[in-house]
């Protein structure tokens, strides 16, 4: 298997299967779920941006954005629980389900968050929509010079 080395690493880290033979039924224990979760699918990956390096950075940025959103949601949960009950419990956090109005607030946060991080793309679209607001600043400077 391609991930044998990493499988070994996991076994070593967990310290439980050292030297043990891997039977069929215990195959699941040795699955490297960290690497397998991110496996590539079949077929060449398309790159849409002119420089693939930029697209790789974009993908890393989006993954960071995802986990910032996750952190926000977690913090939101903690704050709401603290406010409501005056104490903190991890079990409560895991079990927390937003009611409709909290869900609305949280989804609105996500909407604003997406809008913040993709501002530059939205503005590219607006530039196409409103070319009159997209005159180069040198031209504007020259125009203002005549005003």
């Amino acid at each position: 298997m391609t991930f044998l080395k990493l499988d070994d690493m996991k076994t070593e880290l967990s310290g439980s299967h050292a030297g043990a033979s891997i039977s069929e039924t215990s195959a699941v224990d040795t699955m490297n779920d960290i690497v397998m979760a991110g496996n590539k699918s079949k077929g060449g990956r398309p790159y849409f941006l002119e420089d693939p390096a930029v697209e790789r950075v974009l993908n890393i940025s989006m993954a960071i954005a995802a986990d910032l959103a996750v952190l926000h949601e977690r913090l939101d949960t903690i704050e709401r629980l603290l406010e409501a009950r005056g104490h903190l419990s991890r079990k409560d956090i895991e079990a927390f389900v937003p009611d409709d109005s909290v869900a609305e607030e949280r989804q609105t946060w996500h909407a604003r968050f997406s809008a913040r991080i993709l501002r530059i793309i939205q503005q590219e679209v607006e530039a196409v929509a409103m070319p009159e607001n997209n005159v180069p600043m040198r031209t504007i400077a020259d125009e203002i010079n005549e005003m």
Binding site: M36, S41, L49, M62, E73, A111, L118, E124, V125
Partner: protein, 399 residues
């Protein structure tokens, strides 16, 4: 118009076979559903603007003519920065959705497998075959960028890929398929009941049933019928049978079979043969074999329906054809484009439906999460919107 928020992930019905999600895993899916909504409603419209205002005009200026086909549109659009960034983001969300879903199910793979095995103990609703050969059109590609696609088992009894698929449809569709992601099946069942109130099928076949999210609502709508779902993917069938059983739906069976060679079924044995978002995941030769098989197993006078995305016809603009092709190449559904070039009326003729009996209607998903917004406007998201084309017809009453 105010910004339309997708439902939070916890609105999904956690049926007994569903994987467990911890707090942060749920939040990760909430982020992705919201990101998809933003990309599809705010960024994606920029493609049309760019096309209308610079891509097509520039092409005409250069060539003194417009585009001749969607491939020429594609060559020009791929140079446009708005398209480039939209496509890069859309691909990124699809890959993140797979990684996040897989991370959830793989960490609990063994538990999921034993839950499913326990649910199916003593039940005869699942029939798998040890010597089953997966059609090459499935092994050749990982549909929807899902590593291992529908058929891969990571260990005996595994259902990981099915559980991942089940949990993540919400993200891609932005929650528009309902709390059990069964909006397509519900819609077709309701449409058939309403349109043909005297039709009382006894045996219904759903080809390419997957985990049965569109098969179960048909079984629920026709409780006196026996519904059989066939698929090639072992994890999907296994998970689907357990899911249906745990939902208390017992008039449905999940059988491993090849749609192009359904030797399990005798001639003229079904009153209704259905496929839902299946045909575009087959192959250029297999699709004809499948329609021939449908003709054989469907009773004379029986009903044959197919839910698909709209076909590419001369009525559809080349721009729209190009946009709809995105999933074919970049979401790993490569037969999508070729399939949508076929004429459904020809396919149905192969299935024994005379040309003058061919029918085609539009059907919108029935979404229980959308009760207050039933008339809400849906932004076109080429290939993702919960509005489908249904084509089909009644097989001739005589041979």
């Amino acid at each position: 118009m105010s910004y339309q928020l997708p439902p939070v992930w916890t609105k999904l019905q956690q049926h007994a076979m569903f994987p467990e999600f911890n707090h942060d895993e749920r939040a990760r899916y909430n982020f992705l559903a919201n990101l998809n909504r933003y990309v599809s409603t705010v960024i994606a419209p920029g493609n049309k603007l760019a096309y209308d205002r610079r891509v097509e005009p520039n092409f005409i200026k250069e060539h003194s003519r417009s585009f001749v086909d969607r491939f020429e549109v594609g060559e020009a659009m791929r140079q446009d920065p708005v398209y480039q960034m939209w496509a890069a983001l859309r691909r990124s969300t699809m890959e993140m959705r797979q990684q996040n879903g897989r991370a959830v199910v793989l960490r609990q793979a063994e538990k999921l497998a034993s839950k499913v095995a326990k649910e199916l103990k003593g039940s005869d609703s699942l029939q798998l075959k040890d010597d089953f050969k997966i059609p090459t059109y499935l092994t050749h590609v990982d549909n929807h960028l899902m590593p291992g696609s529908y058929h891969t088992e990571y260990f005996p009894g595994d259902v990981s890929n099915a559980a991942n698929y089940d949990s993540g449809l919400f993200v891609t569709s932005g929650g528009m398929l309902g709390s059990l992601t069964d909006g397509g099946g519900r819609a077709i069942a309701a449409w058939v009941k309403e349109t043909y109130p005297k039709f009382h099928p006894k045996k219904i076949l759903d080809i390419g049933c997957g985990l049965g999210h569109n098969t179960v609502p048909i079984a629920q709508a026709f409780p006196n019928a026996v519904v059989i779902g066939i698929d090639a993917g072992t994890p999907m069938l296994r998970y689907g049978a357990a899911r249906a059983h745990s939902l208390g739906v017992h008039n449905v069976k999940f059988i491993q079979a090849d749609a192009a060679d359904m030797k399990e079924f005798t001639d003229e044995s079904f009153d209704w043969v259905q496929t839902t978002m299946f045909l575009h995941e087959t192959g250029g030769k297999s699709i004809h074999a499948i329609f021939n098989e449908i003709k054989r197993i469907l009773k004379n006078g029986g009903l044959n329906l197919h839910i698909e995305q709209p076909q590419y016809t001369s009525d559809m603009s080349m721009y729209e054809q190009f946009m709809r092709d995105w999933d074919a190449y970049y979401n790993a559904e490569p037969f999508w484009g070729h399939m949508h070039d076929l004429a459904p009326v020809d396919l149905m003729e192969e299935a024994g439906v005379p040309r003058d009996k061919f029918m085609q209607v539009g059907v919108k998903a029935i979404n229980d999460l959308d009760k207050d917004k039933r008339d809400g406007k849906v932004t076109e998201d080429y290939g993702r919107s919960p509005i489908w084309n249904v084509f089909g017809g009644w097989k001739s009453a005589t041979n």
